[in-house]
């Protein structure tokens, strides 16, 4: 009977992975894919060692460093590795370099061509597949849901639990449908859409839920764009995001190094085609968004829900109904150095960051380069960097000549990594300065102590670089 009821995509993936059901409603869930990076894994490996345990399925595990790595050159002119100056970052990197081979895990090294941000290389290598469960000790693991994988971030004890048992004890989330009606206007990107969605449902709007994004706009969207959207599900409080796999997904994955080949490929596609929410499937919550309402969107505060169209004005704290939000808005404005009523287009920026697992794929770089082609960064912009999401993205961009466009316009062209998405490596925004950033979190101090972050799309960040202010890219490019 249960089985006859129409099911959501989330239920289908969940049910296919239940190893053991407990009376209290939690279940032991099998994990098909585990991505490991240098920051959240050392203590997990240490735990295994102390208990004399092995990694149950090294063949389902992939390790790569990204968070701590400086994005400057990693090898010198003679091909020798350049050591990391910060001793603690160096120790975390060394630990992963030693732990991966010691436990039989495939390791992509800091100076390998395939190195990159975990959430960029998972899909790029074909490690991420539709219908799989995928975890990583980083909250933006939600990104992989763009390919129809049930993917979420976990803590260090859970990393250890997955390494040892390939499972997690989980309670089932509620399901939430975000249905977008219509298509995005010219010059509007997937980043604008997800920022707009978070603005509508709030930073806690998806708490306890797994979001499925539905509607024609997602069907038309590239995989890169879907990754940007699903990546930020966590910023809406959701555990994971999902987009049903389709022909675009299959075309994206076909031929990727770790994706199935030959007859296996055909069998996989046949299965993946069943992975969509059935007609009449019931979601616990459903929200409808009108695509026509989405403008180029920018954050003004210190929560990702603090969004407004770039054409708008900084809101007054009193304009919020909730007193605690009023208070938070006051603190945000103070931290951000903004006054209510100020036009966003009057706000100057000193730093530009194009990168992070949200927006560092080839399409993101193409979109930014299109804006920067033949233009130069404004005088007031002191620091502008482009950090490709992986070595392969970097190589592709260079083959297309995008690096030349970036450097000609005054940007630095860097090595792949998390970079200025979080203040954990040398790429930081100075205190009190603003950054037009394509990353995913505008929390207090996220890009460095006192740094003021404005989240936006790659094209918008490029436009801000050109004018030195928050700018409507449609105006700059003559699109309307």
């Amino acid at each position: 009977m249960e089985q006859d009821r129409p099911q959501t995509l989330y239920e289908k993936i969940w049910n296919a992975h239940v190893v053991d059901q407990r009376d209290d409603g939690t279940a032991l869930i099998y994990i098909d894919r585990h991505l490991v990076h240098e920051v959240t894994s050392p203590q997990a490996f240490e735990g295994l060692r102390k208990a004399g345990r092995q990694v149950r399925r090294p063949d389902l595990t992939l390790a790569v460093p990204d968070h701590n790595l400086p994005t400057t050159a990693r090898v010198d002119a003679n091909g020798n590795k350049i050591p990391i100056a910060d001793p603690q970052s160096a120790a975390q990197l060394e630990a992963l370099e030693a732990n991966a081979p010691a436990f039989g895990i495939k390791y992509i090294g800091a100076s390998d061509r395939e190195q990159g941000i975990v959430h960029v290389i998972g899909p790029e290598q074909g490690f991420t597949l539709p219908g799989t469960t995928l975890v990583c000790g980083d909250s933006h693991t939600a990104a992989h849901g763009a390919l129809g994988a049930l993917a979420f971030g976990i803590g260090t004890s859970e990393v250890e639990h997955v390494l040892a048992t390939q499972t997690l004890q989980l309670s089932r989330s509620k399901s939430m449908e975000i249905r977008v009606e219509g298509l995005l206007g010219p010059g509007i990107s997937p980043k604008d859409l997800i920022l707009h969605i978070i603005g509508v449902i709030g930073a806690a709007g998806g708490t306890g839920h797994v979001i499925e994004y539905r509607g024609e706009v997602f069907e038309q969207m590239s995989i890169e764009g879907r990754l940007t959207v699903s990546n930020m599900s966590i910023e809406a409080g959701a555990r994971a995001g999902l987009i049903a796999p389709d022909d675009k997904t299959f075309a994206y994955l076909k031929g990727r190094p770790m994706a199935p080949k030959g007859a296996d490929w055909d069998a996989a596609v046949a299965y993946w085609k069943t992975l969509k929410s059935d007609d009449g499937a019931r979601f616990d919550k459903s929200v409808t968004i009108n695509a026509a309402d989405v403008a180029p969107t920018v954050t003004w505060g210190t929560s990702p829900e603090d969004v407004i169209p770039v054409t708008g004005h900084v809101p007054a704290p009193e304009s919020f109904a909730d007193p605690s939000k009023q208070d938070a808005a006051r603190k945000s404005l103070d931290y951000m150095g903004l006054a209510s009523g100020q036009a966003l287009s009057d706000v100057s920026v000193e730093n530009i960051f194009i990168g992070s697992c949200t927006n560092s794929r080839i399409e993101d770089l193409r979109a930014a380069a299109k804006v920067l082609d033949g233009r130069k960064k404004a005088e007031g912009v002191k620091w502008a960097i482009v950090v490709p999401g992986s070595g392969l993205v970097k190589a592709q961009a260079e083959a297309e000549g995008l690096d030349k466009i970036f450097t000609a316009s005054g940007f630095e062209w860097r090595e792949p990594g998390c970079s200025a998405c979080l203040g954990m490596n040398p790429d930081k925004v100075p205190a009190g300065e603003r950054c037009a950033s394509t990353s995913n979190r505008n929390f207090v101090g996220r890009q460095g102590p006192g740094a003021r972050t404005h989240l936006m799309s790659p094209a918008m960040a490029a436009a801000a670089a050109v004018t030195g202010k928050l700018t409507d890219v449609r105006e700059l490019m003559g699109v309307n």
Binding site: A51, E160, T167
Partner: protein, 197 residues
């Protein structure tokens, strides 16, 4: 994990409310590769103050910490539990704990013991001169002065802590079910494994 049936000894009368994870261990300690050694960084900002309880020789090596409401709020960093464990604290007694902290404490075999504020007030007094006992079997906290406060805990957690069972061991006991799942997937989905060169 080591079974914990009883924690006995002096208690640090800290008493502060809303002790967040940043106070327990600040962000600069997150770049470590070990669970050990974090005790050195525990309560760094508090210890910077003259006359703090943590550096009072009276409480050296005390295995119990007494605090106010909402202990361990803030980030999900497991480092907070690791730091307490490393400094020798095996039980924390407070009126309430953040959800994430109590789950992290549990995962690391630390006792997070909830008691009402009146009990905390009394224990803070006793702690200044005498030892305190936390007993998991009888779910009680006692003093040499005949005080006896009982607490509640999820029976599953209580059992795990007393038996020293950790979650990995519990899951490993289900390895037959895990293997059965793997066999099922191997035969139904030949494409399932990543192709690793």
């Amino acid at each position: 994990m080591k079974p914990v049936r009883k924690v006995e000894g002096r208690a640090i009368p800290f008493g502060r409310k809303n002790v967040d994870t940043d106070v327990i261990i600040s962000a600069k300690w997150l770049k470590t590769i070990s669970r050990d050694g974090l005790g050195e960084g525990a309560f760094e900002s508090v210890r910077a103050q003259e006359g703090n309880v943590f550096d009072d020789p009276e409480y050296a090596g005390a295995p119990i910490l007494i605090a106010g409401d909402n202990f361990g709020c803030g980030s999900s960093r497991e480092h907070a539990a690791w730091a307490l464990d490393d400094m020798g604290v095996k039980a924390i007694i407070a009126p309430s704990f953040s959800d994430i902290f109590s789950s992290n404490a549990f995962k690391n075999g630390l006792l997070a013991i909830p008691l009402p504020q009146e009990a905390i007030d009394r224990l803070m007094e006793v702690a200044k001169t005498d030892p305190i006992t936390v007993d998991m079997e009888s779910m009680s906290v006692t003093t040499p002065f005949q005080d006896r406060f009982t607490f509640e805990m999820d029976p599953f957690r209580q059992q795990c802590l007393m038996d020293g069972v950790d979650e990995i061991d519990l899951t490993m006991a289900k390895s037959d079910a895990i293997e059965a799942h793997e066999t099922r997937v191997d035969s139904a989905q030949s494409w399932h494994k990543p192709v690793m060169a």
